[in-house]
Amino acid sequence: MSGVRERSVIVNGEPCRIWEKGRGDPVFYLAGIAGLPRWTPFLDRLAETRRVVVPSLPGFPGAGGHDRLDGLIDWIAATLDLLEGVGLAGGDLVGASIGGALAAEVAAVSPALIHRLVLIAPFGLYDRQSPPLDLWAQRPGSLPGLLCADPTTFAAFTAPPEDVAPAEWSIVMTRASEAAARLLWPLGDTRLERRLHRIRCDTTILWGGEDKVLSPRYAERFAAGIAGKTRLLLIPGAGHLADLDAPAATAEAVAEALR
């Protein structure tokens, strides 16, 4: 985590951790399921050319307060508080998975806030032919292989840091899963479909070719619904958390989208 600066922004009275690295034009990133238990190689690559600003959403590692958010409008307001608090004002926003769903919501309700949008396998829609995987009804130990193409990647990503007791860390990770469930239970459908037409900015949609949580079919539904110019790109070999599975390819695709 060399060179990562940390501060916090208060949302609903609770501090939310902000990580930041690099120089230049800022790019804001909302992490996926599990949040950001640690800094990642993907963010390092982005930080080579941009100032990467990474706020933690309520309930995810580094941030509390998810239990005050009772419905979608609470989540959107909290995400707006967080992004405005870190200075997103007409900048570029990247969101993955659950972070992608909220990035899209923010782009729909507050279009002026965002210049360009990158969505990495975002939640928010529901396809009857191919429903999102039930992340909260899986056998013990199977989740890493469902979220990442390489299960060891997710296991290493979420392993307890050296300075935290494993029992306490398991509570932190359970809290992140609870926060995601709080927004997405039971079907992962936030009815975002009704608001996609309000997304008017340039939007790039990235999807892991091996995503077992949300089929790449969803990418086309996003592209069809969004009013702004859209681009689709599949990351071959990557799972749902494509930026963990394929950091270089995903960072390159994001950099290309925001060039």
């Binding site: 239990d67 909260w136 009804a137 398991s170 809290r175 609870e178 469930a181 709080r182 039971p186």
Partner: protein, 419 residues
Amino acid sequence: MKLMWFHLMPYTKLPEDFRERHNSVWVDIDRNLFDPAIAHRLYNEFMDELEYAASAGFDAICVNEHHANGYGLMPSPNLIAAALARRTSDAALCILGNSLALYNPPTRVAEEMAMIDCISGGRLIAGFPVGTPMDTCYAYGQNPSQLRARYHEAHDLIVEAWTRRETFSFNGRFNQLRYVNIWPHPLQKPHPPIWIPGGGSIETWQWCAEMDYVYCYLSYFGYQAGRETMMGFWNEMARLGKDRNPFRAGFLQFVGVAETREEALKLYKEPAEYFYGRCLHVDPRYVNPPGYASEATQRAKIQSQVALASARAQTFAGGTTWDDIINKGYVIIGSPDEVADKLREVARDLNVGHLMLLLQFGNMNRDLALYNTQLFAEKVRPQLRDLFDDAWEDRWWPKPLPRTERAAPRHWPARQAAE
């Protein structure tokens, strides 16, 4: 003490190879295993058993709520309790209970329970469980992260609906009602006794103490496994300065009684193995949604008994053995005197004044359930019924109308089909 007769209403025709061929007894249990014609017979036999228990002198008959569950055929225990209210006259009706967060608006629970209290002349015990994850979060789609907050708000609304003397508005976090004015309201004042079936969380114990509610531990694994939980409860009561009145607590125990121990071992082996083998075959996918257990409970490393059973079944493919069932006391089995001695020891050791007995379990048929019930009523109950009564008052028992003021249902003979 109070001896209460509890029914889970298990489906008794799960196939022998259920564990091998099927995922789970709960949530996604195979629909094709359910035969409504069998259920028709089962419901009627099960209600016979409950009515017989009431007539045999048990202090209460108890029903509970499960959803999409092969060992619990009562998605609505209130329907059964309403039928029982008409067919029994003295036994308390213990609904243990309604999972409050599942009702929208929760005043539905206040209304239905008030109806049953009125129909029965004030014999209702109102049980308010949070409900298992399988029932609430999976079968009923409730958000695990909001379940407990919704439960507590529903509780507040129901108690207010039962006790306020005028129409009021309720502006809760999850429920907004302009007009709350349930009609009927309960016969018992200020409201029927409230009992809380729960796991082993300290928050639940503290809440029961604060509200002066009965805490019930519905153990599927007998008194040995339940001991730690009940000790924890009483230690917390002592810490909060509450007395050791055994009627603050309820405890569930499986029992099989016969004339001799040998006979009992022969009679109850199959239904017990059916319950512990097939009925507790729960897919571990459904036992632990995030947010269901509070962080304090996670820190205390308290796991639900279904989670433990499910984990255990994964480790030991065979599941529970007959040896465990009898030697670890999951089921107390023996002659009337042996069972009475053991239950007296359990009641004293756990300090429990409300003993709920499962005398029908697994695929036990009606004849055997009635035999078990009759022997218990005639030969075990007399040895236990006076326990605790000289020293403690049960402040948590229903207060029905005097017998002389209670309505008696009329019965007419059925017309012959030939007419």
